[in-house]
């Protein structure tokens, strides 16, 4: 009795501890959310403390991870929870305003204050009719960061910069495949990312010339191919890049040993316009629920005041123009970033803006990685990316809800009839006899229903709606028809449902086979009775499971980098040619699989170790006496005895792998051209990058569910027939 009493007490204490949280919301209390870290966060906290001391208002500052920021904001504010005030990039203004999350900021940002801020910042915080939806706070954009040891005088053009030759040092490094960093080239050639009326801007002559320019940079060897932000920073830190394009965030994390200077991007010789980078203006937003609270506006005014800006300018490019009149005390790099910001182009606040990144980056990648320079290839890539943008647009499908309701009623009626007819005569007495068992399963049933089934069902219902979030219209089965007909494109074309399904099935089979094989082999080795250092081995082998997968998945991505990855370094040591892992389907897929196998085998190993302890020893001895070889013993005795215990783990492992989107997201990111995407990562793209079409994503989810369900039904039937 004692151990279970202890367990119960622990349980009670844990519940007590956990339940002791209690949220108190005193009056005169302001909640502020931000995603800053480091010096910017310090400055904000300092100001807050000063304000609290001055006014007696209490302010609760919460730093939210960037990856969860937007979704947390919208869920919280919709539920009348969350912050009174939050700091976010101006390009989300459009969607926040349309979703009704924002209060007007006129009290905090009256018309009389417009001159206080940089013009560019004032402009984006107000819409066409002059309504303020936020208070200008800080400016973020990229500039050229040069290593002053290598570059004494900054050349007057990009061409001149990349013409410099060093020994094994790149004259320039930037995220060549990022649309955000590519934008200055596009702007220099007179293009835009998003045209008027939400049309796709990455077309025509400017787009063509910009990608051709980028391709020349890379193919001449002046710019490293396929570098991500971390690699760019790494190259600069180690003196392997003379100049990089980056933002203030990069500079603030540079080690002291690197001498640098920040300058606005030099112009392009061959282009007629300046290479304007994208500008992000960080705004202070007032949440809808705090619209009537003057103290929130007052606090916002305080944070954005010229006085506070003197504190903030230590860490960021503030939007207050007065601060920049006397720049003596300001760090030179921030001055340079401010100068660069004034020459930048604010990103569009339209919701459609976010849907341009994916097709633009696809086009850039296609051109940069193409074998030849020919113009037709560039045109084809641009045409394909425009087609993608168009096909990802929300369709104006709408259906009559009446028909949907009729269908629902009919379905329920049919289900009721089937249920009634299938009710066995002893159903009710059986129900009474089951009462005892229900006492055991009730808690689990309620918990799973409430917190697992209900949210999933609610999600499934959204699959009948189309449009972006908060602007959904009833679409009937329109989403399903769209997906299953590949939106009118070729049924087995890239990104089509069927092609992705094939990839997903292959992904699942290979992964599960590897997980089971490796897990089983290790478990068998580790359960040898006379093995030494068993505990050490076991513990070391679960490391892939213990370290958060986010970091290790990115470590894998780094290991597969063409130029700087360890895998290619190893290949080079053996005299093999380095492989560009993410430019072909087969190798990108292999990289994903390698990562996921590594992440998943410890789980299987632990499950199997547990199961192996349940295999009776006498049966194994009997097999020995019968003259079985160790392999025969395993194949004919151990394995059949393990199988029933493994079945749940293997089936669930297969289901989980089928829906394992984060490895695909983090390692290959779907490259090349979404070919390595699996169904669920495709669903996530629809939900988060392509106009936030939750309905479409939900329809994908329902289809995934349907496929898995049918597979499990059929496999059970085959099993029964086979037995």
């Amino acid at each position: 009795m004692k151990p279970w009493l202890i367990a119960f007490l622990t349980f009670a204490v844990a519940i007590g501890l956990v339940a002791s949280d209690c949220k108190t919301a005193p009056k005169n209390h302001i909640v502020l959310w931000h995603a800053y870290r480091g010096a910017e966060e310090q400055a904000l906290l300092e100001l807050t403390a000063r304000y609290e001391a001055q006014t007696g208002t209490t302010v609760e500052v919460l730093a939210v991870p960037f990856l969860a920021y937007a979704s947390k904001l919208s869920s919280a504010i919709e539920r009348e929870q969350g912050p009174d005030l939050f700091i976010d990039a101006h390009e989300r203004l459009g969607s926040y305003r349309d979703d009704g999350l924002l209060a007007r900021a006129d009290d905090a940002f009256p018309k009389s204050d417009i001159p206080r801020y940089d013009t560019i910042a004032s402009a984006v915080a107000r819409d066409e009719d002059g309504t303020a939806w936020g208070v200008p706070f800080a400016l973020k954009g990229v500039a050229l960061i040069v290593n002053t040891n290598l570059v004494k005088d900054v050349p007057d053009s990009i061409e001149a910069l990349v013409k410099q030759r060093y020994d094994r040092i790149y004259p320039l490094a930037y995220e060549a495949e990022s649309a955000y960093v590519h934008a200055p080239w596009l702007h220099a050639f007179g293009g835009t990312m998003l045209g008027p009326d939400d049309s796709y801007g990455f077309v025509g002559e400017p787009a063509r010339r910009s990608v051709a320019f980028a391709r020349r940079l890379v193919s001449s060897g002046a710019v490293p191919a396929g570098a991500d932000g971390a690699l760019v920073k790494q190259l600069f830190e180690s003196g392997k890049a003379a100049a990089i394009i980056g933002g203030p965030g990069v500079v603030s994390e540079l080690p002291l040993s690197v001498p640098y200077r920040v300058v606005p991007l030099p112009p392009l010789h061959e282009a007629s316009l300046r290479p304007e980078p994208f500008l992000t203006v960080e705004l202070l937003f007032l949440a809808q629920r705090s619209a009537t609270r003057p103290e929130v506006s007052a606090f916002a005014r305080f944070l954005a005041s010229d006085d506070s800006a003197k504190t903030r300018v230590r860490a960021q490019v503030v939007a207050n123009s007065s601060t920049w009149r006397n720049t003596d005390a300001i760090a030179p790099h921030l001055r340079a970033f401010h100068e660069a910001a004034l020459a930048s182009r604010p990103m569009s606040t339209r919701v459609a803006m976010r849907a341009t990144w994916e097709p633009v980056e696809q086009a850039i990648r296609a051109v940069l990685r193409a074998q030849s320079d020919d113009a037709a290839a560039i045109d084809a890539a641009l045409a394909e990316s425009a087609r993608r943008f168009e096909s990802a647009k929300p369709r104006a499908t709408s259906a009559s809800p009446a028909r949907g309701l009729t269908a629902l009623a009919a379905t329920l009626f049919v289900i009721a009839i089937i249920a009634y007819r299938n009710t066995k005569p002893r159903f009710w007495s059986g129900l009474r006899a089951s009462a005892g068992a229900y006492a055991y399963v009730m808690h689990a049933a309620i918990a799973v229903f409430l917190l697992v089934v209900l949210p999933l069902a609610a999600g499934a219902v959204t699959s009948f709606f189309s449009g972006s979030r908060n602007h959904m219209t009833y679409a009937g089965i329109g989403n399903y028809v769209d997906i299953l007909t590949a939106r009118g494109g070729p049924l087995l074309g890239y990104g089509s449902f069927y092609r992705t399904l094939l990839v997903t099935v292959g992904w699942t089979l290979i992964n599960v086979a590897c997980h089971v094989t490796i897990g089983l082999c290790l478990a068998v080795l580790l359960s040898r009775p006379l093995l030494r250092a068993k505990g050490i081995y076991r513990t070391l082998l679960i490391i892939p499971w213990a370290v958060p997968s986010y970091v290790t998945a990115l470590a894998y991505k780094g290991m597969f980098h063409q130029q700087f990855g360890a895998v290619n370094a190893l290949l080079r040591n053996f005299g093999a040619q380095p492989v560009s892992w993410f430019s072909q389907f087969s190798t990108a897929f292999a990289a994903n699989v390698a990562t996921n196998v590594w992440l998943g085998f410890p789980f299987m190993m632990v499950v199997m170790l547990g199961a192996l302890t349940n295999v009776p020893k006498d049966v194994l001895e009997a097999a020995d006496i019968d003259g079985a070889t160790p392999w025969q013993r395993f194949r004919h005795v151990t394995f059949p005895l393990l199988l029933p215990q493994l079945a749940p783990a293997v089936v669930l492992g297969a289901v989980w792998t089928f829906n394992m989107f984060n490895v695909v997201f983090l390692v290959s990111g779907g490259e090349p051209d979404n070919q390595t995407d699996i169904l669920v990562s495709e669903a996530y793209r629809w939900a988060f990058t392509r106009h936030a079409q939750y309905g479409y994503a939900a329809a994908y989810a329902v289809l995934i569910f349907g496929i898995l369900w049918l597979t499990s039904r059929f496999s059970r039937r085959w099993q029964r027939e086979g037995a």
């Binding site: 969350g82 499971w545 213990a546 009776p616």
Partner: protein, 280 residues
């Protein structure tokens, strides 16, 4: 002699597996212990150029005077994950027992329903879940996290425990019932202790799922003192730049308790406790 060769082969295989398991982690370690990043990369053996613990100082808040907060968040992670492990096993065990031993109306439907929940991607369910938890007044409370994590860990826990209970001879409970136990007492005082390894493994799985989760934690919790460690770690990733050094260091710190727990618990996890209870 033959035994030695065999043992050598086994150890070679295991060392190979350990290297495979460790290699990517060595990269993470190298990033964590480097003062100034990895340099230009392109080498096979990971080792920091300038060994330094500054990233650990940043990650644990020791550098910014926030180590008390970090410890608080570590305690949060431990309590939330621990409570999730206990709660999910406490709820799953009776249900798994009923599914393993009793006949009742809806048993098959319940089992396949549990399996179905695992097949549905969660892509569109975050918003409804947030709504339900706010209706239950569980937002911004560690209890809310525990409840949500436990519920999502339940299906696997139930399957796992059901298989384990089925492996326990039914005579054990019958003996207890003849000895004067009700069915429930027999379950608690005989079946559960006999299934201790399976309970421990199931608890470990639930613990791990809660320990590494961050999306839900970041969405549900709105006070810094209530955050769990993965949320804190994720803060090192920004929109345009990420502080990989502290992030890697933090990840290493986060994984240490799990490995300690596993090392201590592995005897429990892997002992064949039912051996010898029945038959010869």
């Amino acid at each position: 002699m033959k035994q030695h060769v065999k043992a050598l082969a086994v150890h070679t295989l295991l060392v190979g597996a350990v290297l495979y398991a460790l290699y990517p982690v060595l990269w993470v370690l190298t990033v964590a212990f480097s003062r100034d990043g990895l340099g230009e990369g392109g080498f096979v053996l990971p080792w920091p150029r300038h060994m330094s613990c500054v990233n650990f100082a940043i990650a644990t808040g020791a550098g910014t005077g926030k180590s008390a907060l970090f410890i608080r968040q570590l305690v949060n992670s431990l309590t939330v994950s621990g409570a999730t492990a206990i709660l999910s096993v406490a709820i799953a065990a009776p249900a798994a027992y009923a599914l393993a031993r009793m006949q009742f109306v809806g048993k098959r439907a319940g089992l396949s329903g549990l399996m179905l929940t695992q097949m549905f991607p969660t892509v569109a369910s975050a918003v409804p879940l947030y709504f339900i938890l706010s209706q239950l007044h569980l937002l911004d409370r560690r209890a809310g996290l525990v409840v949500a994590y436990s519920a999502s860990a339940l299906p696997f826990a139930i399957f796992q425990l059901k298989a384990a209970f089925e492996a326990i001879p039914v005579e054990l409970e019958e003996a207890a019932m003849v000895d004067g136990a009700t069915r429930f007492v027999a379950f608690v005082s005989v079946v559960l202790p006999a299934a201790r390894p399976a309970l421990a493994i199931t608890a470990l799985f639930a613990f791990m799922s809660a320990w590494n989760e961050f999306v839900l934690a970041a969405t549900l919790m709105s006070r810094e003192e209530a955050f769990t460690l993965p949320v804190v770690l994720q803060r090192f990733v920004g929109e345009h730049s990420a502080a990989w050094g502290p992030f890697a260091a933090g990840s290493i710190v986060v994984s240490i308790p799990v490995m300690v727990i596993f090392y201590i618990a592995q005897k429990q996890l892997l002992s064949g406790l039912t051996a010898g209870s029945v038959k010869g």
